[in-house]
Every structure is written in structure tokens, then in C-alpha cells.
Amino acid sequence: MTTTPVKFYQVGSFAVGNRLLPQDQRSVQSDMERTNALTSGHRACQGCGEALGARYALDAAMRAADGQVIAVNATGCLEVFSTPYPESSWRIAWLHSLFGNAPAVATGVAAALKAKGHTEVRVIGQGGDGATVDIGFGALSGMFERNDDVLYICYDNEAYMNTGVQRSGATPPAARTATTQAVGPQPGNVFGQGKNLPRIAMAHEIPYVATATVADLRDLEAKVTRAMEFRGARYLHVLVPCPLGWGSASCDTVKIARLATQSGLFPVFEAEHGEVVASTPIRHRVPVEEYLKLQARYSHLFSPKRRDDVIDKLQAAADRNIKRYALLDEVRRYEAFEDEGAL
């Protein structure tokens, strides 16, 4: 990747010193005039990756659309923690209908805006992985196929967290959930075929598909901004660690998201019209074990008996991503190194 011009990294982190940048290169969140689309006072858990991701994504969308945004939300944590009647944390026009229909409702909003000639107003659909990968999958595919003018954002925390951490189609293999318990000879979730929604979105050849994480919020802002440059169906898949569901420390949300990318388990890339056009290189490659160890949902892989067989299979999945998206490509690494200047 990527489109962001900023490459000023502090040592050991991706934090960007906005103070040192010209005004127009600073992050959306550093802007005193930002929308605060999802404002404070909501009821998300401490360290919630979804709340963090949604705030950055929506504020970036609001800046890109000059404040002309309508958001449609699927049922789930984001909806529940943001709008306990009579309160609302949304400072933008916002509609929640059902669990499985957010993409179709967003289509309806876009159709109404088109009929009324308000095409300056942009539509965002959003939901968790359950709403996106499972129950709303048909509606999402329909929205993609028709190329409706909607940016759909999936905040993926890899299970049904709102109902108490049950397995979803996005739950990774071996992960413990309330419906894939760490018991029996093959503890945790099965090694299925997986359901890679960014790739499924790409198969629809929609104008723009991207992945991001809450470890690189500047990248998330840039992806949203880029997505808003297109018309038609766009898809953004954001990895958002969930301290409650993953059994991780609240203070580790960003760290775990970073380890997901640096291990190769979660590739960060962009695709246009069905083709990958950029991926974010791994800077400091780590074995998957470093990512797994911080999360209680994988603790059965380390005690009482270490399960190297399972860890190896997860490592193989990470290795496959690294190859598929050229995350460690030598030439690419060199260019990235050059770009990063400060190093």
C-alpha cells in the first residue's frame, strides 16, 4: 500500500506525530473539527476494537463526503452499545433495522437519494462479522452484484460477541467460542474452508475492496477516504479485536491487531475491480504464536499440553497469506524501506 503520504513513524510503533505534519496531512482524528460520528458516552467494553474502528471510519467518511453521510447499521454490539433508547452516540443520520438486512437497507437509502437527486449524500452500511459474513451475506452479495452506491464496512471480531461469543463464519480455526468450546480431541473451532469475505467481494468485481485493522488507524482512515472516491459498491473489512471474546487484555487491542498483520494471519490489502492493487508489507515478521499467546481463546493450544500440530496449521495459513499477498516480497520490502526514510 498505500495512498497515505505519511511515513513518519516513531521507533517501534506506527504512531504518527501529527504535530510535526502540515495541517492537510494530519489524521482525521487529530482535527478539532472532526465529526465525532460515534461520540463519547456509549457503552462499549473497555478496549473495544469495534468502537475504535467505527469512530475512525465514520469520521473519515464524514470528512470525505463533506458531512453528507447516512449510516445504516446491522444489529450487533455496535448498534446496542451506541443507541440504548433514549440515548444515542451517533452524531450522524443513522438507521438500524435488523441483523441480516443492513446491506439491503443501505441500498434502499441509496435508491431514495438517487430518486430524489441527492447524490451528494453518501451511504455507509456497517455491521459485525456475523451480520456480514453469515446472516446478511445474501443481502450483501445482492448489493455488490447490483453495484449499489454503498460503502459497506465489516468490523470483524471473529464471532458473535453481542450474544456472548458464539462461533460465526468468520471465527478462525482452533479459536474457542461459547459454541466451539476448548474440549474434546479437537478443541476450539474446526478447520473448515473459511469464508474470506474480502475475496468474495473481489469476486463480484466491485470497484473497491480493502482490509484494515485498528493497529494502523491512519491506514484505516486512508482506506475509507479512498473508498469514498469511488461510486458503486465498495467493501472494507476491518479487523477489530474484542477483549471480551478473545480473552485479551483491554490494553492489548491495538497490539493484538498489529500482531495479526505482522504474523501474516490478517493480510492488509486493497483491490480494485477484482484485482489486488496493493498490500501492506510486514515490517517485523512474528510467528503466529506471538499473536495466539495473548488470547485466552487460544490458551488450549499451550496448556495443559502444547499443540504444535494445531499451531503449525495456523502458521501455514499465515505463510500462505504472506505468499499470496506478497507481504514479504524482497523488492517490495526494499521499496517500503526506502519510503520509510526515517529508518
Partner: protein, 396 residues
């Protein structure tokens, strides 16, 4: 304009004259001709500022309608049978959110066993969904009810289901006076939403309501729905003033004022019933008809007043509650509670079984002779089902 036209085509034209801004649909027999007609009108550019969205399921159809209506667009969709069931979650959501969507239900049976022909099982299953339900007797009325439906829906900010019998009405060609655009414009003002998604004045719609307020929210919906009993007759009266036709309203009495026996039904079967009643009245039988147009909310007081002189009612229903009996019957019973009126339920026409004049004559003769059973399944092959019941009993 008078036209010899298929019911679906007439409805499609009438809906187009209502200037919908978003139409979405998923095809299901016997609704197809309506949305085909509308898609053609939109595609040809004859309906300005309208988006026709071909969706991938009925669940998406109602969901698109929800999004469009919440954005302030006049919104229409149509479905039937399994399609209506497939969208049920969104059907309840639309009424809960108070969105004035108009939907045609081309009434069809529900499987299994799968059956594409007409009865009222589909819309009757949604009687508690919070939608207003009005039933058309003829293609003229189906056409007119759609124009009224937008008016009623938008005045109340509630969705309206216009129910018309699948095939019997949707696929029948007959004379229909299709409303003129200028008259529809006179009757139906532009849609002004109660609440709308607008970036300039942002609101949150669809918040989670907990135990501390849910009862109140639901009561408000109840109170608003009851207002339909005033709004619907007003809408019909104003329709008559402009179009010079008696269409819609709550109920339609037909020689029921002083009849001893009153036949009660909904939808197109009323035509056959009236023919039979005409013939019986000519023979001096004291018999009349009460057509129910508005089924939700149910017009208890109007029905009670219409039946005050009756000695018995025969309720002909195209759907039933398995293990219980009539659905309309329960509402009629509530209406006439305390009055000395005998009530008979007749389940008829399930899955498209023809309801013939011959069968109705026999039925009404039995009723006036006082020998009609409280619950009858019209033209049931009793011998066949008795044998089957016996065989199943033996197998146990």
C-alpha cells in the same frame, strides 16, 4: 380511463400514477405481472424520479423498502405467499419503525405442500404484524385501494398491505376505470415523512428500547393503528368525491340491514356470494352479505352495527388456524359478543379450490334451514379424509 385490462396491469398503472420514488421487488407468482408492469413503466422513463431495484430476495425487498422509506421516498413493493413469509422479520420492522410503505399481497396459499393458487393464508398470517390490511373485492377496487393506500399510509405513518386474490384478480382481464394522473395528484399530496434520514438534521432511527419504555412504544403503535378506523373511511369518502366511485372503507354491507342470515367474507369471493344471495333473495330468502374491506385494524363497532338485526352469520374464510378453526370468525365473535347471533364458520377455497355457486347455494340452504355445522370445510372429500385418518390411526 376505462380499459379492458388484466388486474395486475391496472394495479401497476395505478401505483405508477401515485408517483412512487422507490419500487423494489423479487418475483413470486402470482405477484409477477404487477412488478413486471412497473419495471417496464420505470425502464421506459414514463415515471420520473423513480428507482426500480431488482433485489435478491423478499427479505431484501422489504429491507430496501425500509431504507428508502426512512430516507423520505414514497416506496412500493409487492409479494405473495412464501415471499411474504420470507420477509416477515422486515415486515414487522417496517411497521415498528412507522414507515408508510405500500405493499400488494397477491394472495396465495402457503406450503407445504407447495401450492401456487389462491387463498388468504399468507396475509392472514401477518394479521398481527402491525400493518393495515385492506382486501379488494374486484380489480376496480384493487386499483382504487392502491391509490388510497398511499394516502392512508402516509397520513398515519404506518405501512399498508393491499390484499388482492392471486390469479382470480391479478390475472383476470376485465373492465377497469384506471384513475387519471391529474386526479391522483389531486387526491394524493407529495409524501412528507414524519422522520427522515437527513445529514443536515441527523436523527438515530431504530434505537434499542428496553423494558422501561417498550410497553409505551408498543401502546403508541396500537393507538396510532386504531386511528386508521377514522382515516380509512375518510380516505374512501374523499376518493369518492374526486373519482366518483365507492371503493374502500371499512365494510361493505349488501342487503344485510334486515337479513336474518348474513354471509361474511373478504376479497373476490364476495362477487360469487352476491350472485348466489341475489338468487336466493329473489326466492324470498332473508339473506344478505357483509364484506370486510379493512381487516387490520378490525372494525369491531362497524361490524357490530351492521349485524345488529341478524339472526345468524356464515363466515366464509380462505384461511384457518390449524387445530382451532376460523380466523375472521374470532374477530366477528368479538364484534357480536352479547348479541343473540348464531355463528357458523366455513373454510373454503384453500389452495385455489373453486368456490362454486352450486356449493354456496347448498351451504346457504343448510344455513337457513338451521342445519349447518359450526365448522364446515366446503367441498371437502370427506370419504377420502376419513379413510386416510383411519389408515394413519391404524399405522399408529
Amino acid at each position: 380511463m376505462l380499459k379492458q385490462v388484466e388486474g395486475s396491469v391496472a394495479v401497476a398503472e395505478a401505483v405508477a400514477y401515485c408517483r412512487p420514488e422507490v419500487i423494489c421487488a423479487y418475483p413470486i407468482s402470482p405477484q409477477t405481472h404487477i412488478v413486471e408492469g412497473l419495471s417496464k413503466i420505470v425502464k421506459k422513463g414514463e415515471l420520473a424520479n423513480c428507482e426500480f431495484v431488482n433485489v435478491e430476495s423478499e427479505f431484501a425487498a422489504m429491507s430496501v423498502a425500509i431504507g428508502a422509506s426512512a430516507t423520505g421516498a414514497r416506496t412500493y413493493t409487492a409479494t405473495a405467499s412464501q415471499g411474504l413469509l420470507y420477509m416477515v422479520e422486515a415486515v414487522y420492522n417496517a411497521s415498528g419503525l412507522g414507515l408508510p410503505i405500500v405493499m400488494t399481497v397477491a394472495n396465495r396459499a402457503i406450503g407445504g405442500p407447495i401450492n401456487i393458487w389462491n387463498d388468504h393464508s399468507d396475509s392472514m398470517s401477518q394479521r398481527d404484524s402491525g400493518w393495515i390490511q385492506i382486501y379488494a373485492e374486484t380489480n376496480q377496487e384493487a386499483t382504487d385501494l392502491h391509490v388510497q393506500a398511499f394516502r392512508i399510509a402516509e397520513e398515519l405513518s404506518l405501512p399498508v398491505m393491499v390484499c388482492m386474490d392471486g390469479f382470480i384478480l391479478t390475472h383476470a382481464s376485465e373492465r377497469v376505470d384506471i384513475p387519471e394522473q391529474s386526479d391522483v395528484d389531486k387526491y394524493l399530496p407529495p409524501y412528507v415523512p414524519r422522520q427522515v434520514l437527513n445529514p443536515a438534521d441527523p436523527v438515530s432511527i431504530g434505537a434499542m428500547v428496553g423494558p422501561e419504555a417498550f410497553m409505551e412504544v408498543r401502546y403508541m403503535v396500537h393507538a396510532k393503528t386504531l386511528r386508521a378506523l377514522e382515516v380509512i373511511p375518510k380516505a374512501a369518502a374523499e376518493f369518492q368525491a374526486i373519482f366518483n366511485r365507492d371503493s374502500g372503507g371499512l365494510i361493505r354491507p349488501y342487503f344485510s340491514e334486515d337479513a336474518e342470515t348474513v354471509i361474511i367474507a373478504l376479497g373476490s369471493v364476495l362477487g360469487t356470494i352476491k350472485d348466489v344471495v341475489d338468487e336466493q333473495r329473489a326466492q324470498g330468502v332473508s339473506i344478505g352479505v357483509l364484506g370486510i374491506i379493512t381487516f387490520r385494524p378490525f372494525p369491531f363497532e362497524a361490524v357490530r352495527a351492521a349485524l345488529k338485526n341478524a339472526k345468524q352469520v356464515v363466515i366464509i374464510e380462505k384461511a384457518f388456524q390449524v387445530g382451532i378453526g376460523g380466523i375472521v370468525t374470532e374477530n366477528i365473535s368479538s364484534s357480536i359478543a352479547g348479541l343473540d347471533i348464531k355463528s357458523n364458520t366455513v373454510i373454503a377455497g384453500l389452495g385455489g379450490r373453486p368456490i362454486t355457486k352450486t356449493s354456496l347455494h347448498t351451504l346457504f340452504n343448510n344455513a337457513t334451514a338451521g342445519i349447518l355445522a359450526p365448522l364446515t370445510f366446503l367441498d371437502l372429500d370427506q370419504g377420502l379424509v376419513d379413510r386416510e385418518i383411519l389408515r394413519e390411526g391404524a399405522a399408529l
